[in-house]
């Protein structure tokens, strides 16, 4: 069958392969090349070696600031989102009346797009801050916590779904045995439930991690980086470098390559964490 199928490669693979090459492969390779050049459109590139990369750190502190802001934001949202999501999952696996309705409601914000989410929360947060005669652009910490709140609203329901599935998969005889042994609810949580849902914890941690680290739309709509560029995360900083002014395209592209390397490093850690777990279970 392989042989016959091979003759049909044009039908089965060609459309995807051409689209993939045009939309991803060529732009990716060109992006790496252009990060070593100076250019304004992609056709007038001049080789400049590593100077764009040096300029990223020498010309201004935008990128470094964005990195620290992103890192702080990511750590805080990973911890909070997972804490809330796990607690909700615990509450919703006790057979309380209306569990399905609650699940539906908590998950819903996840479907709303980032731009719309940003403006919804801009209204709410500015409404609260207006009692103190300020708005979200008044201080970077307002923008920071605004983003954290937004992220929790959006992602908690999603992670909750994954935790619920994991908790429901715990064999009931394990919980019964613990109850017969007279374990307190706290002991059950620590010694039975938590170890059993560890794979879900890994998945959810990395999902919130990459989602927070790569955040763009929400950041763009909620604060747009204000005040100044203090609340611009990495993705927004790259966007601003490309499209904010002319003559910085090379620098923007090298920032993008650095950003890619960071995201790839996270993905590598994730791969290793999941693999180790698979070995443990085997």
């Amino acid at each position: 069958m392989q042989k016959t199928l091979r003759r049909y490669a044009a039908v089965f693979v060609l459309p995807t392969a051409v689209a993939f090459t045009v939309a991803f492969l060529i732009p990716f390779l060109m992006g790496i090349y252009l990060s070593f050049t100076e250019f304004t459109t992609v056709t007038n590139a001049k080789w400049v070696g590593f100077s764009n990369y040096l300029r990223v750190f020498r010309d201004s502190s935008d990128f470094t600031n964005a990195f620290w802001f992103t890192a702080k934001f990511t750590v805080v949202s990973v911890v909070l989102v997972n804490l809330f999501a796990f607690s909700l999952a615990m509450l919703l696996t006790r057979g309380i009346r209306g569990t399905n309705v609650f699940r539906t409601v908590f998950f819903m914000p996840n479907l709303i797009g980032g731009i719309v989410l940003g403006y919804i929360w801009q209204l709410i947060i500015n409404g609260v801050l207006s009692w103190f005669m300020v708005d979200i652009t008044f201080s970077a910490s307002y923008g920071f916590w605004g983003l954290v709140i937004l992220m929790n609203w959006q992602l908690t329901g999603y992670m909750m779904i994954i935790y619920i599935a994991a908790i429901q998969n715990i064999p009931s005889d394990l919980l019964e045995a613990a109850a017969i042994d007279g374990a307190s609810p706290r002991q059950v949580l620590r010694n039975v439930i938590l170890p059993m849902v560890m794979p879900a914890v890994t998945i959810c941690t990395f999902l919130t991690l990459t989602n927070s680290f790569k955040l763009f739309d929400q950041n763009f709509a909620l604060t747009g980086g204000a005040p100044g560029r203090e609340t611009a995360m990495l993705a927004l900083d790259i966007y601003n470098t490309f499209y904010g002014r002319v003559g910085y395209e090379g620098m923007g592209q090298s920032k993008a390559v650095l950003f890619f390397i960071m995201v790839a490093a996270i993905a590598y850690l994730q791969l290793r964490a999941t693999r180790d777990r698979e070995v443990e279970n085997a």
């Binding site: 091979r6 990716f28 709410i124 609203w153 395209e249």
Partner: protein, 279 residues
């Protein structure tokens, strides 16, 4: 705990969950309320109900729709999402079947490239991709469908391949002996078996493409507005912004999502959990 205490504890939990659910819904309700208030009454007191003085009926909706060409944006969003999702599901299923069954070196390399593309952030390729799309004349609603196929291929082929591997090859061998050619085989035998995965992939891609802002903005944004671009356009652009129109547009862009969610909620929740591998 006695039975009575247990019952009481449950009641407390239930009340607590109702409270949390209210907190989750509140932001959307606040936006809905404000969409009926005059634009100058929104920023100052967003939490006050509309009164006889501040209530403006559907004025904001009319303004928002007129200023952004909302119906047109809705049409573009719908066209781009439906076509892209259809194209992605069909072609990536075909590709996944081919590269899983034909164990050649190029097939394997292509598979690894696709998986690799999943970890590359959009910012890495946004400038070069939008310029290339421009040069190749792909900067229109039909062209962007092609771009989405290329961009969505990674995750979709990856998910489909996992399920193709679970299909025993004997079924396909039997079909071949019965005289099926590969195209008949795919449509009559393989694709029907992949249907649950196809639903998952359709949902994941729908949520992504419908809500996507930056890619369509960079590729077709100056000629065609999708809904997220229309919302952003109202915000930025010119002079002082019309908060009333913005509120109305936020409501209008949430409504289709909620309708979609409530009609295929089960599939969505299952699909999203299955797509959790995406990094």
């Amino acid at each position: 705990m006695t039975g009575k205490e247990k019952k009481a504890a449950r009641r407390v939990l239930f009340v607590w969950l109702v409270f949390l659910a209210a907190v989750f819904v509140a932001p959307i309700l606040v936006v809905l309320l404000n969409s009926f208030k005059g634009q100058f009454y929104i920023t100052d007191e967003p939490f006050r109900l509309p009164t006889a003085e501040t209530f403006v009926g559907l004025t904001n909706y009319a303004a928002g729709i007129a200023k952004t060409g909302f119906w047109q944006a809705f049409g573009y969003s719908l066209f781009i999402t439906v076509c892209s999702v259809g194209v992605i599901v069909l072609f990536t299923a075909m590709t996944a079947w081919y590269i899983t069954r034909v164990k050649s070196r190029p097939a394997r390399i292509f598979y690894y490239l696709l998986v690799f593309s999943m970890i590359v952030p959009f910012q890495m390729v946004m400038f070069t991709m939008s310029k290339l799309a421009n040069m190749l004349g792909l900067d229109n609603p039909a062209g962007i469908v092609f771009i989405y196929l290329g961009f969505g291929a990674g995750l979709s082929v990856f998910l489909f391949s996992g399920f193709v591997r679970a299909i025993p090859e004997e079924i396909e061998e039997a079909a071949m002996i019965d005289g099926c050619n590969p195209i008949q085989m795919f449509f009559l035998v393989v694709f029907p078996m992949l249907r649950p995965t196809a639903v998952t992939i359709a949902i994941l891609n729908t949520m992504w493409i419908w809500n996507d802002y930056l890619l369509p903005y960079l590729v077709i944004g100056n000629k065609y507005k999708t809904i997220p671009i229309a919302v952003q356009y109202l915000q930025g652009g010119y002079g002082s912004r019309d908060m009333g129109a913005l509120m109305a547009l936020l409501v209008l862009s949430i409504v289709p999502i909620i309708v979609f969610y409530l009609t295929c909620q089960k599939h969505i929740i299952k699909g999203v959990a299955a797509g959790a591998v995406k990094g």
